[in-house]
């Protein structure tokens, strides 16, 4: 087991190098990046230096005068020492900005995941036990509608109903207009109020796949021989389903939930942008739009690490949770 983990870790590190190199190359090769735009602006000021001189100066300042490979090695060397440079858009160290915004995203993601679990697992189990019934059709259709809903459309409908027509929530932002005047409890409630719609969007849009996953796995378990045995020996249906079947369904569920834990840190790019919630998703969206290389590099490497971590966690959990799986 330990050998397996070490092997996987080494492999992950290799993959990470490749991924960051590819991303770095892409970012450097893109035309008309932030530096060109800034140089253009600076050069158009009255009495300024010509565009080429500005470009050269800025490139040197931002470390872009190197070739791609040496540039990547420089970046890598600094990244390994935990220095990701200053964000161009936010004009502060990337890590500081990251620290500032990541927790909001994490809290949003954690609440959303919790709600998803509470909704998806019971409904998935019910759908599987009553396969092809009206309930099953309703749940399956509901799950598929959730999957098929484009985030931006659903978020807009929520805004129209709850913000505009009912006036319960604000359209944008994390804090209200008179946030500074409120006492700490009021401030907390204000933020919570602003997070209701984004979290609702996240839950509805992503609850479907977990529900279907539960249903599929539950169905598989219900069709297996040991369930038939359990029924044959005269156990009550309740006991069969909730003790024998459900516990076995938990194996793939725990695996996939464990795998989705690192994803809590990745932020919800689209949802945060739609609601202007200053989490990691929105922050990086803004940075990426103007071609802020240090921030984009950091965010994308971070996402790559999260993906690798979640793959690793789900593979390990798979072996840990299911005693039948043995990894040499």
């Amino acid at each position: 087991m330990r050998k397996y983990i070490v092997k996987r870790l080494l492999l992950s590190v290799m993959i990470l190098f490749c991924v960051t190199f590819i991303i770095y190359t892409l970012l450097r090769c893109l035309p008309a990046s932030y530096v060109e735009t800034t140089a253009m602006q600076l050069a158009s000021a009255p009495g300024a230096k010509p565009y080429e001189e500005w470009l050269e100066q800025l490139n040197a300042a931002y470390g872009l005068d190197q070739e791609i490979l040496p540039g990547y090695i420089t970046w890598l060397g600094q990244a390994l020492r935990g220095q990701f440079g200053d964000s161009w858009k936010y004009a502060m160290p990337v890590l500081d900005k990251f620290n500032e915004v990541i927790w909001l995203s994490f809290i949003m993601g954690a609440i959303a995941l919790l709600l998803e679990l509470i909704i998806a697992i019971p409904l998935g189990v019910i759908a599987a036990t009553k396969q092809y019934s009206r309930t099953d059709y309703a749940i399956t259709a509901g799950a598929l509608v959730g999957i098929s809903l484009p985030t931006f459309f659903f978020a807009t409908i929520l805004k129209l109903i709850f913000s505009v027509k009912l006036g319960w929530f604000d359209l944008y932002g994390l804090v209200g207009r008179d946030f500074a005047l409120l006492d700490p409890v009021g401030q907390f409630l204000d933020m919570a109020n602003h997070l209701v719609l984004p979290i609702a969007t996240l839950v509805i849009v992503s609850v479907g796949s977990l529900m279907r996953y539960t249903r599929t796995n539950m169905l598989e378990v219900l069709n297996s021989d040991y369930i038939r045995t359990a029924r044959a020996k005269g156990l009550s249906e309740k006991k069969v389903i909730y003790e024998h079947a459900f516990r076995n369904t938990l194996i793939p569920l725990v695996t996939i939930i464990g795998g989705s834990l690192p994803g809590l840190f990745s932020g919800a790019l689209i949802t945060e942008t739609l609601f202007t919630i200053p989490g990691i998703g929105y922050t990086s969206f803004e940075a990426m739009r103007i071609g802020d290389i240090p921030f984009s590099m950091f965010y994308m490497s971070f996402l790559a690490i999260l993906t690798l971590a979640s793959n690793l966690i789900s593979d390990i959990l798979y072996a840990v949770v299911d005693p039948r799986v043995r990894i040499a």
Binding site: V19, L27, Q131, V145, F152, L269, I290, L303
Partner: protein, 511 residues
């Protein structure tokens, strides 16, 4: 003969209970079809897809409008036309060859307020004589210098001589109907017209009308009409101009400046943007005055075509690489699967956003941009399919029929593409159908963020972009709700069908 009879008899005979012919045997394909059509959701999805395809691909042909045909409408815009003010101060007219400058005007004003009959300035005495209400004549040493009046003589055509003005004002102030000058008779009518025999040579009025723009010429009739309207205290009237067109005017009175400002309603030719649903435009028009329904049809075409092309690219790449990896194993498998791992790790959404922003900055042509978008999406999507194909092939490879193909000496390429791949196809179809849905969502999301398909091309995503302005969101539902519903129906259709196919292909399924 006997033989035939026997057969006939046998056919008429009812089947015995264990006769094979009692069991209707279906081919595997027919089984799949049967199972698929039993699934109500899948059939619903199929209907949704067919509707969307007809809507997008035939709709564009049937629709009387073009994809980016713009519509216009006349819009009434009120423009400042003239300003009118009732004269409340004395206006001075100097006699021929005389001067009546501002110092004298001020002195005169003071004298009037003090109700004196004369004033002096620089040792000269000026005498003023009231000749009627608000009409004075000023003279010194018996010479007439000027007249001061609140009524104004407007000339029609040639400038009137001072003497006529003077006499006319005198007559008007004293409410006479005629006056004589130099042996000629002039008539004055109720409206203040000065008539010389037949011709109207001028008119007297207190209203001063000045044009708001230099190109505006205010006609006599207009002024009279305006005066009448103001006296009647109305705030709206219609007037037929000299060119015969009817204009609408609105009058507003500003009490502090004592001004009437008159606005002319003028039809302006504008884009028919955000017009409500009507007979001509069933779903109204969008920001640029294009027919919404037609945009939706063409948008659907773009969204569906992009979805299909992306999925085709994904599938071709995925099947080739997955097939190679699965069949050859060893270092080929290792290499390809590591590449797949790397692709899996590249965060696709951020990457596409960055690429989109770069294309924005480079001002890539919208049609080329669409092409790039498909390539990027396809190129980022193949690893999932490669994994699926590889996994399937790994298990199929060990089965007996593959050993048989090897024993028969069939070529490797034929073994892979003729014997292995067809067995993967059921899984592949399911995955492709589902990923069509997710690709369409992805494209729509990008277009919504302004990073995907760009104007003038329509796509369901970029139609909804207008909703970014809260005003459009709340006031023009027809701009974004139909597009969202189209999107939802198409994606849902693909997901229902994909789900139904998955169940239908699964031999373990009960039904």
């Amino acid at each position: 003969m006997q033989e035939e009879k026997k057969v006939e008899l046998k056919e008429q005979e009812p089947y015995s209970l264990n006769d094979d012919r009692r069991v209707k045997v279906l081919s595997p394909g027919a089984m799949v079809v049967k199972r698929f059509f039993r699934n109500r959701l899948a059939v619903l999805g199929m209907v949704m897809l067919i509707v969307m395809f007809i809507f997008s691909f035939i709709g564009g042909v049937v629709s009387p409008y073009g994809e980016d045909e713009q519509f216009y409408r006349y819009e009434d815009q009120m423009k400042e036309y003239v300003a009118a003010v009732k004269n409340e101060v004395f206006r001075y007219t100097a006699a021929d060859g005389q001067k009546f400058d501002s110092v004298l005007q001020a002195k005169f004003q003071l004298a009037v307020e003090k109700k004196e009959n004369s004033f002096d300035y620089k040792d000269v005495v000026y005498e003023m004589q009231q000749e009627g209400e608000d009409l004075y004549s000023i003279s010194s040493d018996g010479v007439l210098l000027a007249i001061a009046a609140k009524d104004i003589v407007n000339t029609e055509g040639e400038e009137l001589p001072f003497s006529i003005k003077h006499e006319a004002l005198k007559a008007y102030a004293n409410e006479q109907e005629s006056f004589a000058l130099n042996g000629k008779d002039y008539q004055l009518d109720e409206e203040g017209n000065i008539i010389d025999g037949e011709n109207v040579i001028g008119y007297i009025s207190r209203l001063v009308v000045s044009a708001a723009a230099p190109d505006v010429k205010v006609s006599r009739q207009f002024k009279e009409e305006l005066e009448a309207i103001i006296d009647a205290d109305k705030d709206e009237f219609v007037f037929v101009g000299e060119d015969g067109t009817e204009y609408e005017y609105k009058i507003s009175y500003d009490a502090t400046t004592k001004n009437w400002s008159v606005k002319q309603g003028k039809a302006t030719y504008v884009y028919d943007s955000y017009s409500k649903p009507s007979k001509a435009h069933w779903l109204g028009t969008d920001k640029n005055g294009m027919d919404m329904l037609t945009r939706l049809m063409y948008g659907g075409r773009v969204s569906l075509i992009i979805g299909f092309i992306v999925v085709i690219i994904e599938t071709v790449l995925g099947v080739i690489f997955g097939g190679l990896a699965g069949y050859f194993g060893k270092w080929v498998d290792q290499l390809i699967m590591r590449i797949v791992d790397i692709f899996y790790c590249i965060p696709s959404m951020p990457l596409i956003i960055i690429l989109g922003a770069a294309m924005d900055a480079a001002k890539v042509d919208p049609s080329i941009r669409m092409f790039y978008l498909m390539l990027i999406l396809g190129f980022l999507g193949w690893p999932a399919i490669a994994r699926l194909v590889r996994g399937q092939i790994l298990s199929l490879r060990e089965q007996e029929f593959m050993a048989a193909t090897e024993a028969c000496g069939i070529r490797v390429s034929r073994r892979i593409f003729k014997h292995l791949i067809p067995n993967v196809i059921p899984q592949l179809i399911v995955t492709c159908t589902m990923s069509l849905g997710s690709t369409i969502i992805m494209e729509a999301t990008l277009s919504f963020l302004g990073l995907g398909v760009k104007f003038p091309f329509a796509s369901w995503g970029n139609i909804i972009t207008d909703v970014n302005s809260a005003y459009v969101m709340t006031h023009y539902w027809f701009v974004w709700i139909p597009a969202g519903i189209c999107l939802l129906i198409a994606v849902l259709g693909f997901n229902f069908v994909g789900d139904g196919l998955r169940d239908a292909f699964d031999p373990k399924m009960k039904r």
